[in-house]
């Protein structure tokens, strides 16, 4: 039961983008740490700005 609730909570966080920054850090560590002159990861605030702006560039709401 507790595990189910935990899973549901993870899902809600994921779907709403609440954990987008953590996902980004994971992605950054995985793909960009290998190179020496890799840019440092963005701060939470900077990332959220970019993420939100790119989300609202195209058509993402319908009738």
């Amino acid at each position: 039961m507790l595990r189910m609730l935990k899973k549901l909570w993870c899902y809600v966080r994921h779907v709403s983008g609440d954990d987008a920054y953590e996902q980004y850090l994971k992605h950054h560590a995985e793909f960009h740490q290998a190179t020496v002159d890799a840019p440092p990861a963005l701060s939470r605030k900077e990332f959220f700005k970019l993420w939100q702006d790119s989300k609202w560039k195209g058509i993402n709401r319908c009738c």
């Binding site: 994921h14 987008a20 950054h28 319908c62």
Partner: protein, 689 residues
């Protein structure tokens, strides 16, 4: 053994579904239980998803699980991200399900519950869900390219431009009609107006919280916002009883329309994080929550539907909108059965998140089935009302008369029982001064929902439930309005950028103000006309929107059919060709009637001529004389706009047919723009957190 049980299970589902469909189709009694509709819908969806969708995925599209998706190949951690399929499903559904599937079925209920229900089920299963799935698939195979780009790459420049223009115009009409629905819900209702107004500062507060106070804490901010929204519904009741505050929020349609136009402009110019993005979070949470609540309430309560299966208005004399059952039920219900707008979501945003091609069936086909189910619930909420009450709320004053007594007499003459006292009692139960002539679907849906929620969770809170439902619809109508205006602005800036580089820059302030003004003026004009039109405006705008939306769907199906033929799958081209032919039939015949019909309630020219004749003969009442010239001009404009839609549609179709004939004749055609196969590196059990 296991296989036998499965077969038996599916046979049982098929039988149950057939039984339920036959039950609702053949019932001619007084009323029928809503559970029949739910059962029929669930069985039809299950069968279609298990067999038809699976067959399309395996045989027609030939989905390849081992192929890397754009999200995997182009992963950048931001817009291209391989994402858990349930999360993509959530995003996709939140994007496609707007107010459309709630409004369309409510309006179409004037024909009775049966025609709309059958079209929602059949249209979704054979048309809408297929369109969404194949568009998602083709876009995934093309790095998430948009519908317009795919049309250009696969059919040619003509198809591409047509899709672009179609998208822009549909946006303008859609926003106008949605704005009108909100205005009709807020007209002389201080409670509704103050609650809707309160959503603006609440959204801004949430925006600032997410951006600056606790950056990126989306859930915290949303929970605070939702609580504030619920409080604002209660607060609206207090405002309604307050002498001075009440008058601040008690307005005619026109000032409210100006307010919405101003608001739309502000929302398009202000940064997204301040208003648009936080409002979208709130509306998504409200939407999902309320739809779930409605489903639970319907299952617990199993209400009876009081609307007849088929009403006499199938002959074209309906009070909400004129026009016969064919083709107008198919135009009125677009979202919920087949909606071209979805093709814009299925190409673009969603394919960039898709981790594996095998999820296309669930997200594309399944997502549309869920939206179709929302439409079925809207149909139930509209038809649980007594038909007399339903028509009293939805019939415009221009049809039934301004005075309650006249309206009631007119509705009684159609054979639907309702009394003035009954309507007064209902209005005071709902905390409103009147419920007459609130055309547009939102108020009658709110009354339906309030009575369902009221009987499931307590009757004494009816007024709260009603205004909660109004707030819930208004908040995501306004989200569509904001987002649509913004997208229109981007499209216009993109276009102007071809002539002047500076104007094409999305952050160049003069360009932002210029293009936002043009877009807002576009829908603002139609909204204004809709509000001053004594026939309610919905009568004109909703069919126009339906035609535009179905036209876009036809363009998407054209692109898909063209690609299928070019891939050497002529024998499967009927999968998209069949809904395409149906859409072309209904849009063309609806457009023909809207333009050429001699019935003044259907034909644009007929209405314009009729009004011009009355104006020159001096038989119009004085309040109509002032607005008559504008209405006449608008009827002409609508007629030409409809003509334009049909011409665009046929140009794309002929272009697609030309392409197919060339291909089949062995002549050179535009090459398929599919990205070459690359094996997926994500193993079977890739992280599905």
């Amino acid at each position: 053994m296991n296989k036998n049980i499965k077969t038996m299970l599916w046979v049982a589902v098929a039988l149950l579904g057939a039984f339920a469909v036959a039950g609702i189709a053949l019932n001619r009694g007084e009323s029928i239980n809503a559970l029949w509709l739910i059962t029929a819908a669930v069985c039809v969806y299950a069968i279609a998803y298990r067999f038809y969708a699976a067959w399309i995925a395996a045989k027609v599209l030939v989905i390849d699980e081992t192929r890397a998706t754009p999200a995997e190949r182009l992963d950048n951690g931001r817009d291209f991200v391989p994402t858990n399929k349930w999360v993509v499903f959530g995003h996709h559904f939140a994007a496609i399900a707007g107010p459309g599937p709630l409004i369309g079925p409510t309006l179409a209920a004037q024909f009775g519950y049966l025609p709309g229900t059958l079209w929602i089920l059949i249209g979704a299963v054979l048309g809408g869900a297929v369109q969404d799935m194949v568009t998602l698939f083709f876009s995934t195979r093309r790095n998430g390219r948009s519908l317009g780009q795919m049309a250009r790459d696969e059919i040619g420049v003509v198809g591409g431009s047509a899709a672009l223009i179609g998208t822009f115009l549909i946006m303008i009409i859609l926003i106008a009609v949605l704005g009108l629905v909100v205005v009709n819900a807020m007209k002389h209702s201080p409670w509704a107006t103050s609650t809707v107004a309160a959503t603006i500062p609440i959204a801004m507060l949430v925006g600032v919280y997410m951006r600056n106070i606790r950056p990126g804490r989306v859930l915290e901010a949303s929970i605070i916002g939702v609580v504030l929204l619920l409080l604002s519904v209660g607060l609206g009741g207090w405002v309604d009883h307050h002498e001075t505050l009440r008058s601040l929020f008690d307005h005619d349609g026109l000032p409210l329309a100006y307010g919405i136009i101003l608001y739309g402009f502000a929302a398009a110019v202000l940064p997204v994080w301040l208003l648009l993005a936080p409002r979208d979070y709130l509306s998504t949470f409200m939407k999902l929550g309320t739809i779930m609540l409605l489903a639970i309430a319907i299952v617990i309560l199993r209400p009876d539907m009081h609307m007849p299966a088929v009403t006499q208005f199938v002959d074209g004399t309906g009070p909400i909108f004129g026009g016969k059952l064919f083709p107008f039920v198919f135009i009125t219900i677009a979202c919920g059965a087949i909606s071209g707008f979805h093709a814009l979501i299925a190409s673009g945003t969603t394919p960039k998140l898709l981790g594996n091609e095998r999820d296309i069936r669930m997200i594309g086909y399944g997502g549309m089935l869920l939206e179709s189910f929302v439409a079925i619930m809207a149909m139930i909420a509209a038809t649980v009302l007594e038909p007399g009450v339903f028509f009293a709320i939805n019939s415009p004053a221009g049809v039934v008369g301004k005075e309650a007594v006249d309206a009631i007499a007119k509705i009684n003459s159609w054979g639907f029982a309702v009394t003035v006292e009954q309507m007064q009692q209902l209005a005071s139960d709902m905390g409103e001064s009147t419920l007459f002539s609130r055309t547009g679907g939102a108020p009658s849906l709110a009354v339906g929902m309030a009575s369902i929620f009221g009987s499931a969770f307590g009757k004494e809170l009816l007024a709260l439930w009603y205004h909660f439902a109004i707030m819930f619809e208004a908040i995501f109508i306004l989200t569509t309005l904001d987002a649509g205006t913004r997208v229109g602005r981007f499209m216009l800036q993109d276009l102007l950028g071809n002539f002047n580089k500076k104007l094409g820059e999305t952050s160049y302030t003069p360009s932002v103000i210029l293009t936002s003004s043009i877009v807002v003026a576009g829908w603002g004009y139609f909204l204004y006309i809709g509000v001053i039109d004594p026939n309610g405006g919905v009568n004109i705008l909703w069919p126009l929107f339906g035609i535009a939306n179905q036209m876009l769907a036809a363009i998407a199906l054209c692109v898909a059919t063209g690609i299928l033929v070019k891939s050497g799958k002529l024998k499967y081209a009927w999968v998209t060709g069949m809904p395409l032919i149906w859409l072309v039939t209904i849009t063309t015949s609806a457009a023909y009637e809207k333009i050429f019909s001699a019935d003044v309630r259907v034909g644009f020219f007929a209405a314009a001529n009729d009004m011009a004749a009355k104006l020159s003969a001096g038989t119009l009442p004085t309040d109509k004389v002032a607005v008559a010239p504008q209405l006449i001009f608008n009827q002409h404009l609508d007629a030409y706009l409809t003509m334009f839609f049909v011409v665009v549609l046929w140009v794309v179709i002929l272009d697609m047919v030309r392409l197919c004939l060339r291909y089949l004749g062995g002549k050179p055609v535009l090459k398929l723009s599919e990205v070459p196969h690359e094996p997926s590196r994500l193993v079977e059990n890739w992280v599905r957190d």
